[in-house]
Amino acid sequence: MSKNTVTARFRRVDVDEYDENKFVDEEDGGENQLGPDEGEVDSLIRQGNLMEALHAVLKNPPINTKNQNIKDRAEGLVLKVLSAFKSSDIEKGVQSLDRNGVDLLMKYIYKGFERPSENSSAVLLQWHEKALAAGGVGSIVRVLTARKTV
């Protein structure tokens, strides 16, 4: 019988940290990214100018930052804008975005799928259908392979 059978602390050691060959992603300075401007987006939603709100909320995506709060805040804001759209306007909203915009929208949609709330999945699914028509399967592949996600 080995002596130290009582403590199981060794099981908490993260062996990957000690691996010399560990792959470390290059860090890009992401400290300045604050995510979309809440005030601007809120005022645009209140005005009813949803197209502009969509463009505004997709600006400054918090891709490089490590701060989880900023990312959560951005995701909540995007969800607010997406839910404010009428179903018939969704397609026009997607058409007004460029290639990168569609990819970014897809990233936010999948992020929204991760934490479903009351009605979010239904809205997100409608957006997903239109975004898929615009971006093709490639945009979903980019969501899966992107190292720096929203």
Partner: protein, 357 residues
């Protein structure tokens, strides 16, 4: 286009002999089968069984008629034909992980082997001791090498790897060849020198396949969601095109400006590269025939709706290949002007395509 089915097992890799009458392929196991074309049929004439694990790469040197194979058993063998029998010679590659891909150099005096050990093994034959030796390229590779391609000058080697980067190295071995002259990629080329490293800042995924153009000045590679070309003639500028399709797994330069790529969409695509910033999708190269709609009786129609919730009975894909295409290979012509190329896929079929320039 002609399709030939080699069974139901996926074909991991394939290679043609010099006059394209024989093809070596591996049906996802540790055996290489060599088929010869007799009339319209492919007949198996040889079976190469030396590897113990799944074969991951086969390359057939046209001039010297040698085959090199590599497998997950961390070995590579060079096969020579003696008295109608293929005899293997073990190559000391000194890797501790599976080999993933292998390619003869244009002059066939050496070959490069990519592996999961995060290194490329460049192997050459040493006459004195009558064995194959290898030299390793380690820095700055951070992950498995997924594909290799040689530059026409026999010195430069492009490698696509799973650390999201595509690189060009020098594989100059001073024991067996003369010093190379300067090329558009650089002038100093000691062994292992990195001539180009490109990592996609957006993380476009692993680099699945690389291909030099016929002149060697352009390098095309495909990643999970994009196809890119680096142009040494224009200051190593990289042009990037994101695709709307499923990931492409294999790419081939078929002309000075034409590129063919294929992958999980089971169909080859044509791209054209005219200069930095001018990389465009041209068309899909598989023309699906309009399947004749067989008239089904009303009874059949409702039975389908009831049992399978579908109105038609077909599960076949429109394209020739019924599953992903894993490898493209030139059949006739050379990289400057390819006339025919072949593709093998996970459906066990090999299709020969004609390319119209």
């Amino acid at each position: 286009m002609s399709l030939c089915s080699f069974g139901v097992e996926p074909l991991s890799c394939h290679a043609w002999n010099k006059d394209r009458t024989q093809i070596a392929l591996s049906p996802n196991n540790n055996i290489v089968n060599i088929f010869e074309k007799k009339g319209k049929e492919w007949v198996k004439i040889h079976e190469l069984t030396e590897h113990t694990e799944r074969i991951t790469g086969i390359d057939w040197a046209p001039e010297s008629n040698r085959i090199v194979t590599c497998a997950s058993d961390r070995n590579a063998y060079v096969w020579s034909l003696k008295d109608e029998v293929w005899k293997p010679t073990l190559v000391l590659v000194r890797i501790n992980r599976a080999a993933t891909c292998v390619k003869w150099s244009p002059l066939e005096n050496k070959f490069a082997l990519g592996s999961g050990a995060r290194l490329i093994s460049v192997c050459y034959f040493e006459e004195e001791n009558d064995w194959w030796l290898s030299k390793h390229i380690k820095k700055p590779l951070r992950s498995t090498i997924l594909s290799l391609d040689w530059h026409p000058n026999n010195i430069l080697l492009a490698a696509g790897s799973a650390d999201f980067s595509c690189r060009v190295f020098s594989a100059y071995i001073k024991d067996i060849e003369d010093k190379p002259g300067p090329t558009a990629w650089g002038t100093k080329m000691p062994f292992g020198e990195l001539m180009l490293e490109h990592k996609d800042s957006d993380g476009c995924g692993w680099v699945h396949s690389v291909s030099f153009s016929a002149s060697g000045d352009q390098l095309a590679w495909v990643a999970h969601s994009s196809i890119s070309v680096a142009d040494a003639a224009k200051g190593k500028e990289v042009t990037h095109l994101t695709t709307d399709y499923l990931p492409l797994l294999s790419v081939l330069f078929v002309g000075p400006t034409e590129i063919v790529a294929a992958g999980h969409d089971c169909c080859p695509f044509q791209y054209t590269y005219k200069g930095p910033g001018a990389l465009e999708f041209v068309k899909k190269l598989d023309m699906p025939k309009q399947s004749s709609k067989t008239t089904t009786s009303a009874m059949q129609h409702f039975r389908n709706l009831d049992k399978k919730a579908t109105e038609e009975d077909s599960t076949k894909l429109d394209t020739l290949h019924q599953n992903s295409i894993t490898q493209l290979c030139i059949v006739s012509g050379d990289k400057a002007k390819v006339e025919k190329y072949s593709s093998v896929g996970l459906d066990g079929a090999m299709v020969i395509w004609e390319f119209k320039h």
